[in-house]
């Protein structure tokens, strides 16, 4: 991915002892994150054991009227939108050739890939008969006419594409130069395919709800759900890149060339411009759909108020915040705007999949504490894996920078 030539590595550790040395912990163990995440993950595992013995009903508040809850509504439907940054940024760097965003691409794609792997995992945990998850893939029962069939295929293929996008970093880690050159040559093709597949499944997740026409509140149901989902995945993904980038920058600062620290805010402000435009496009679509459907009379209810909160408070307001932050170069405000946008995307996805779903029924669905624990378990495990990789593979740093890939037997001579 990076165009920098690899530093000459005269004498490397043998592969086996290198891998063994890399398996050792590279960060202090007693950190606040570890102290919180380890008990949660252990509890989550216990909850999941129960789920596989007594069924989904033993740990969730799902019901016949609310067959999809937090496991689908947050982990999958929201999570995939938030992971949209990987395809947007890859498009910007490889298709539009805006090289200045290249330094943050790898971390974003790694985040995207891990998010997808873990959301796919969360999805499998939410399936009633997960041992049949292979059925739509191996071809003994292709449901071509199903939106979900299309979504799961483009989901799966996109994960492979992201692995190809990341593979040069892996080759650099192991010091495989030739493999790296070959894998890097696949980048443009992989990105183009990746953007296409992302467009399909981001929109496809929205299309899942097209047949729930009689169940979703009319303020949220529209035949344009797929387009709204696609456009919102752009600003959801970019906002996530802004926040994640900020966080990674603070936590793994040592990995990043100090010369690049200064330009980082510039990058984020550039992304903020794109986010503002995407948000405004989305707001405009929402307005158009509302006017076209003539839904004025629906506004005078608690659902109407809730809808206005989502559309004004979490779409228009962050849009203006982004525009202001970019114009007046205010990186702090930019981050707040990104946070507000993410809450808005979360609200929108949960409204469609859970809150305004079967809104007419008297009994509402609220997730059980076990559902929150499972969600946190998935999230925390993902962060563990992310940290493990970032401390080893050249994700944030360039391959020739400190710390070395495949350290030399004598580190002298490198500075």
């Amino acid at each position: 991915m990076t165009t920098m030539p690899l530093a000459p590595v005269p004498k490397r550790l043998p592969l086996r002892s290198f891998i063994l040395s890399e398996l050792k912990p590279k960060a202090p163990f007693l950190t606040p994150f570890n102290l919180i995440s380890i008990p949660v993950i252990l509890l989550g595992i216990a909850v999941l054991v129960r789920r596989f013995i007594y069924g989904l009903g033993s740990i969730t508040n799902l019901s016949q009227d609310h067959p999809w809850g937090l496991g689908i509504g947050f982990d999958v439907v929201t999570g995939v939108a938030l992971a949209g940054g990987a395809y947007v940024l890859a498009f910007v760097v490889y298709v539009m050739r805006l090289e200045k965003y290249h330094p943050i691409l790898r971390a974003t794609v790694l985040n995207g890939l891990l998010a997808y792997i873990f959301y796919a995992g969360a999805l499998v945990l939410d399936l009633g008969r997960p041992w049949h998850v292979i059925n739509p893939i191996i071809g003994n029962s292709f449901g071509y006419n199903s939106v979900l069939f299309q979504v799961s295929w483009s989901f799966l293929l996109y994960m492979i594409v992201e692995m190809v996008e990341l593979s040069p970093a892996f080759a650099e880690w192991l010091g495989w130069k030739k493999a790296r050159r070959f894998l890097a040559s696949l980048a443009l093709g992989a990105v183009i395919l990746g953007v296409t597949l992302s467009t399909l499944h981001q929109a496809g997740l929205g299309a899942l709800f097209l047949m729930a026409k009689s169940k979703i509140h009319p303020l949220w149901y529209t035949e344009f759900i797929p387009i709204l989902f696609f456009v919102s995945s752009i600003f959801a993904g970019l906002s996530m890149v802004i926040l994640e980038g900020t966080l990674t920058h603070r936590l793994f600062g040592k990995q990043i060339d100090p010369k690049k620290h200064g330009s980082f805010d510039d990058l984020l402000l550039g992304l903020g411009k794109g986010t503002a435009i995407a948000l405004f496009t989305y707001y405009f679509f929402k307005l158009l759909i509302f006017l076209h459907e003539r839904q004025w009379d629906l506004l005078a209810s608690k659902w109407g108020a809730w809808y206005l909160v989502e559309v004004f408070g979490f779409v228009l307001v962050p849009c203006v915040m982004f525009a202001y932050a970019v114009r007046h170069r205010r990186p702090g405000l930019l981050r707040v705007a990104a946070g507000v946008t993410l809450v808005g995307v979360l609200l929108n996805r949960l409204n469609i999949s859970v809150i305004a779903y079967n809104w007419q029924l008297p009994v509402r669905y609220y997730p059980s504490w076990q559902e929150y624990v499972v969600t946190l378990t998935v999230l925390f495990t993902e962060i563990w894996v992310f940290r493990w990789i970032v401390l080893r593979l050249p994700i944030l740093r360039e391959a020739h920078e400190l710390p070395y890939p495949r350290p030399l037997e004598s580190p002298a001579g490198q500075s």
Binding site: V133, G143, L148
Partner: protein, 286 residues
Amino acid sequence: MNRRTFLKIGTAAGSTLVAGSASAKENGNPEEFVGVLVDTTRCIGCRACERACSVEHDLPVPDIENDNALAAVRPTSETQWTVVNRFATSKGDVFVKKQCMHCWQPACGAACLTNAMEKTRTGPVIWHPNKCMGCRFCMVSCPFDIPKFEFHSWNPKIQKCSMCYERLQQGLEPACVGSCPTDALTFGNKRDLMEIARLRIYHHPDRYVHKIYGESEVGGTGWLYLSAVPFEEIGFRTDLGTTTYPEYTRNFLYGVPLVLFGLPALQYGLHLLSDKKDEALEAKES
């Protein structure tokens, strides 16, 4: 897709039969969709159909004499594929049997990514346990809220009325139809059932509202209902429209190949257009 394939096969089979013999034509196409006509004016709420259904499908058999189940309106459940409900209406109490409607183009079948929900060629919509992965998209999609999921099992099944598919294959009627003491249920193909229903309305214009529920709801269903009172009064949704449910996803699915093949070409074009080197070169030349 199933339906379309079915139509093709049906037409082909039909024309062969016409060419073959006249008597085959009189018997009708053996693969015509079947269904059941429910005449709610005849139902007395005895719930014999509930018991027959449970016995036929090895489900817990309700104690229909003593369990006072008619007190509240019940949905079907993972242990009861059909229920009879009582509704207080403008014309007194009305009893209504509820089960899968066996839509002509079922939403559940279009939702299922493994073809576990299948619209069979004879009409029943059935579930295949060896294909289903338990994603519950069929439940989200069904406009009648029929598929039910066993949330308290390690190996959960989707439970819903199968119109006694196995019995139909043996040439028998669905179990509930045979159990009905008042002939409120009539089994047959939809063409015949529609004629019977229209005839009843024609002969007793005051007894029935002049509507057959299921004639065109969500594109037509296998089960049809006659009623003395407007259908909203007896628990039916009359706002579902006449568009088939798979139709709602058609535009999106037709867009998939366009995006899959169009977007890469567009992106490659953009990639070529945004070549900074070319610009620099041109600037030098001019």
